[in-house]
Amino acid sequence: MFAWPDPFVWRAFFAAVGLAVVAAPLGCIVVWRRMSYVGETLSQAGLLGVALGLAANVNLTLAVILAAMAAAGMLTLLGRQKMVPLDSALGLMHHATLALGIAAISLVKGPGIDLMSYLFGDVFAVTETDLVWIYVGGAVVMAATVYLWKPLVRLSLHEDLATAEGINPRLPRAAFDFLLAVVIAVAMKIVGVLLVMAFLVVPAVAARPLSATPERMAVIAAGAAIFGVILGLWLSLSSDVPGGPSIVIALCTIAAISLLAGSRRER
């Protein structure tokens, strides 16, 4: 009873797998640097980027990258104030960007603009042009991640030690924010702004109990993400649940099982 999947299913598969592999090592660094909510805020700033891009009639991917970078800059400034703790400042930015983004999109709303597709993405609507962008952009992001990997791991481990050993923390940090913004912009089409960070963080969480070194964690995270994509797409096609949320459900299930097994082994 096995039917060969339609081309749109293949496109969805290759897009999600490409993204999963590129996002995995970045997701590990997000977890190590406790940046989950920073990433969350950047991806929701992407929604504002979509609105501004639509209004100004510029390339939406570019607009999202710029909006996410602007949010990263704002967060850096917010991190310098000492009046409220960083998580509260993040809460402020996080909700402000989401509310502003939704308001702005509804203001520029025209024919063919679907808010839901930006919030939750539509993996089955990926075109061949999108695929080219995902793989070309993905290759560039991957190369940059490999180049920056060791400095980023050393900074995550102990910033003062890394700095004393001669690493200038500013460059890898800024470059990392940029790479994160690019991945968010590309992933938004597939899983939407609300679920983008799940694509980065959840595979890393799943990989942690199974890893002894940072490199192994990145590789296992990529494997877990590919597995989650296959499982999620199957779930979506067989039960008529939207693609993005299905993949995230599958990823979270894998992570939960891995964590449970890991904590059992610890005991």
Partner: protein
């Protein structure tokens, strides 16, 4: 009091660095260098003066302001090959800030740091609470960002007395093991200057004595200059060649015996502190290894230092 300054007068001649020679004036008077507990402000004219020729690192007139508060003011410091210099002072005295300035992590508001090109620093940071979210074996950590072979790593770990941690997770190590792994990492950089910020934090008393023995041995074997930061007097002072008592500025400095008798030192650490050396210098008939187990003294012991 003047005699307590670390650098012998004979060494305090004009700067050996040509760039500094143009500005190098003889020290007007050394009175300003020993300020017995009072604030004496900034002396820009003293910068570059009296740089010790064979110093691995020299600081002159360092001041640092954090958010309007002056954390360090007019601090001079030299560390030479083969000597252990200990920085003591109460919490908030600016010890860690001074170390961060020397390491180049932060830039001083005033003053300058002179470091010959040949100086290679090995740094052991104060707190190394490795986040257990980062999986990392000791071996992988020592290889990270360093051009070293597996044998180099084993040799460095062995020298630091932590070879058995090679395949363990960094986040699972005890305080003493973590310090030894960090010392191994510093050694892999082939340093001639070792800077350790509170190396004994999170280590129990016997482990602490062992750790300072190790540092003394490394100094002897590699002719290292060592700068130690500590807020704890007992174990540290007896093994130091020079002690600098810091409380925002240099209160007093000199040989441990001299500093412990100094009025500024007693003011900061209390009248009992003067007996700190006595507390430590009792006779030991055994020593403890990394696990805390007692060993007889005839096993390899540090030559002539410590207990």
């Amino acid at each position: 009091m003047r005699g307590m300054r670390g650098a012998p007068q004979g060494l305090r001649r004009r700067s050996f660095l040509s760039a500094l020679d143009e500005q190098g004036k003889p020290s007007p008077d050394d009175a300003a260098t020993c300020s017995c507990g009072h604030h004496h402000g900034h002396h820009p004219e003293r910068i570059d003066v009296g740089i010790v020729p064979d110093a691995l690192i020299s600081a002159r007139g360092l001041s640092m302001t954090h958010g309007g508060r002056e954390v360090l003011s007019d601090v001079d410091l030299d560390v030479r090959r083969g000597e252990i210099v200990t920085l003591i002072g109460p919490n908030g005295a600016g010890k860690t800030t001074l170390v961060r300035l020397l390491l180049g992590i932060e830039q001083p508001t005033h003053g300058r740091i002179v470091k010959p090109a040949s100086t290679r620093i090995g740094y052991v940071p104060q707190r190394f609470d490795v986040d257990s979210t980062i999986p990392m074996t000791v071996g992988a950590f020592l290889a990270l960002g360093a051009n070293v072979t597996k044998n180099d790593i084993k040799a460095a770990l062995d020298e630091a007395g932590a070879l058995r941690t090679l395949d363990q997770q960094l986040s699972k190590l005890s305080g003493g093991e973590t310090q030894r792994v960090l010392i191994a990492r510093a050694l892999l950089r082939r340093p001639n200057l070792l800077i350790l910020d509170e190396p004994a934090s999170g280590v129990d008393f016997t482990g602490e004595a062992e750790l300072y023995d190790l540092i003394g041995r490394l100094r002897d074997r590699h002719d290292l200059g060592v700068l130690l930061v500590s807020h704890d007097l007992h174990v540290v002072m007896a093994r130091s060649d020079r002690v600098i008592c810091l409380n925002g500025h240099v209160c007093c400095s000199g040989k441990p015996e001299d500093v412990s008798q100094h009025a500024a030192y007693a003011r900061i650490f209390g009248p009992h502190a003067a007996t700190a050396l006595g507390v430590y210098r009792h006779h030991h008939d055994h020593q403890h290894d990394l696990t805390g187990e007692a060993r007889p003294l005839d096993e390899p012991a540090p030559p002539g230092r410590g207990s």
